[in-house]
Symmetry: D2
Subunit: 243 residues, 4 copies
Amino acid sequence: MKNVEIIDRDSLVKGLYEQLSLKAGETAIVAIDMHRGHLDMDVATMPAKPEDAKRVIANAKRVLDSARAAKIPVIHVVLVYRRIAGLGSEGMVSPFWKALHAAQGETDRLTPGRKSTVREHNVEGSPGTEIIPELQRPGDYVINNKKRLDCFYGTDLRQLLDALKVKNVVLMGINTNTCVLNTAFTAFNFDYRVVVLSDCVASMYGEDLHVLGLQNVARCLGWVITNEQFFDKIKERANALQP
Amino acid sequence: MKNVEIIDRDSLVKGLYEQLSLKAGETAIVAIDMHRGHLDMDVATMPAKPEDAKRVIANAKRVLDSARAAKIPVIHVVLVYRRIAGLGSEGMVSPFWKALHAAQGETDRLTPGRKSTVREHNVEGSPGTEIIPELQRPGDYVINNKKRLDCFYGTDLRQLLDALKVKNVVLMGINTNTCVLNTAFTAFNFDYRVVVLSDCVASMYGEDLHVLGLQNVARCLGWVITNEQFFDKIKERANALQP
Amino acid sequence: MKNVEIIDRDSLVKGLYEQLSLKAGETAIVAIDMHRGHLDMDVATMPAKPEDAKRVIANAKRVLDSARAAKIPVIHVVLVYRRIAGLGSEGMVSPFWKALHAAQGETDRLTPGRKSTVREHNVEGSPGTEIIPELQRPGDYVINNKKRLDCFYGTDLRQLLDALKVKNVVLMGINTNTCVLNTAFTAFNFDYRVVVLSDCVASMYGEDLHVLGLQNVARCLGWVITNEQFFDKIKERANALQP
Amino acid sequence: MKNVEIIDRDSLVKGLYEQLSLKAGETAIVAIDMHRGHLDMDVATMPAKPEDAKRVIANAKRVLDSARAAKIPVIHVVLVYRRIAGLGSEGMVSPFWKALHAAQGETDRLTPGRKSTVREHNVEGSPGTEIIPELQRPGDYVINNKKRLDCFYGTDLRQLLDALKVKNVVLMGINTNTCVLNTAFTAFNFDYRVVVLSDCVASMYGEDLHVLGLQNVARCLGWVITNEQFFDKIKERANALQP
């Protein structure tokens, strides 16, 4: 098996961390695809690893509860597919996903060694489309018309962030190296400050790509921090603003 | 130093490869940021490794020459920044890049151990903005108003691809894990078939992110193939169409 | 009062009509903001003229019933606003709408001589957001996150049209000169064939802007046809395809 | 010939005018398609009326000179088409423009009674693509990859406006009811304050649609003002900021 040695960029990451300042009033949490289709093993059609699901749900709950208390808006973005006559899920127009289903059996697709399917994933009305209940509270915003990997594409996420006067986009959810990373790229391209919460992300594609996703954000376009670091940064800025 | 073990997905990659069919008339090559600002060590402000630059230029030249002979369109997409009064490069409105310059010395920024700068990178009129001469020929298309990591964002790349009736977007260039990967994500989101030519990409961020960028494409959204495999696929389809 | 003489472009319009061919399988109807907020006088916060509402509902019903019978997809696009703490309707971040409310009393805003309000218009959960019941049937598609004038902006309308393999976008709804016209512009820009059904559109801004909106489409970017002409074109093409 | 009576909305327009405040530092002028292809009768392929061309050039020159003196940025956006093998101008993929050329002779197309052509309009390298020389000065910004009616679509106009910290987009150019109006719609949708300079716009489609375009902006989405009113508003705000 091939091994990749991760380059040591500690001095870069530390330098950038010093520069990070998070004002609650300019910050929002974007929770990406934290639905039963990835995180509830009873119904998941693209399951994360069970231990990842457990970790991510517990850690995300802590952050989201604190965020709401600090009046930081919480935005859930969820993939949902319509059923189209003669096609099935509207996701199946993707040439890559079509090839995937033509080529591979159900345990050798996107999630190595576990069953997964695009064809039945998060079709309108199916239980997979439901947000994990302990992560959702009244007052949260929900965008449920995501169709591909980027939370901004085909949704009003940018408009909502701008209505909320957000400059700092804090990402959590599934998968680190696809929807989270793609959304991080777009948020960077739109000149938001991009933060990924390492405790609250995971990848159904494997640990290697999870690590990649985080390395890629931290060394190329944004900040990867733990829950504790996030709380510290919010407090630090709040204190700085006190008289 | 942290090591990452790459998961073996050979059966997935082989299965998908069988599904790949590349009709010349529906294919275009998108050459990303193959300019002197990355690839010519005399003027580069964000240099790839010298040996990577050499390899990528030589391999890309072979593919581009063959592509033109097969009437496959070649589209160069190049980042160029205007100079704005009171700001300098228009790139410097990015909060991440501002933090990078505030925090880090010139040899500890994006390119580990080599000098790099965003502030002076590919400003309008500077030699860095020139496409590597041996990679450009009359009849190639040029899009030179890319501003961030995604070749589609703020450009007419999608319109050009659609005018050319392209369904297969074949990517090459710099950097594997940022502009190439971000463009691969968007091309996937737009339902193009995405191919990355592994012989013709490199990353100034380090070998680890190069490898993981390729893994990410091959296992989540598209095809990573060598030059030889690309030639094979074009020939295979051309022969299939013969009487 | 100022009068505008409409230039005679009959020969242009006739010539273009001859060129129009509508294949049912490449056509979709996009019904724009046909909700109670414009069309039900009991709850409308931006009411069309009552006689226009009646006419448009009756004519649209005929077309939609026929379209469904011919397996032409029907897509409803509806504006709905979230309520945002401290702001009210998320629509109120628009500088024009803020100025409108600051300057004008409720009978001298967008709808001349009738009460109208942006501030309370189609807020999430209000009756105005409901599609006129006789215009909606099971199997219709609904996009309900439109936020401004363009049905494509911040929605997945383009993705849905492409999943349905649509090339001809047939528009109806409210208002001829704003949401219909803006959507016609964008559909044109995206290289769809744009058709507006003159019997099924109206404008709360006044008859003058309704007429001029139709003139603008017919002479600059698409086709304006009656219900009968629409049925004729669908039949004509269906017959042409018969053996 | 049909006549349209323009509804009297003077009290609305006056009320909105009172609300308009233009800070030079948050304002930019976007000059739309002020190129020889519309405005120089010797080479124009889609000519405005000669007297309109003269009026618009003279009035625009005055505003642009004053704007530069007040450090208000000037952004030229110009349509330019590539030549594509086997297709000709890349504009000719538009189904409406194809139908227009199939149906109509050269004096009965978009510009009533005058010769016009899409097919040869502003092809790369042709004189039509040149900005009218007296309207361009060093230091102006140029975006020359517009492809359809909307200045934002497929260009980096939004990114440039945001880099310049612009909130007020002041439009001039050709044509009032297409590129100016479509750009006004999109600028409105993006929550910019939209101003159209009535002295500096014209329409090759006819006086009726010119009037429509202005009425539509003034009553639905922004401000239509004269050159004098623009100077007044800039001065008024500058004075208000004095100690």
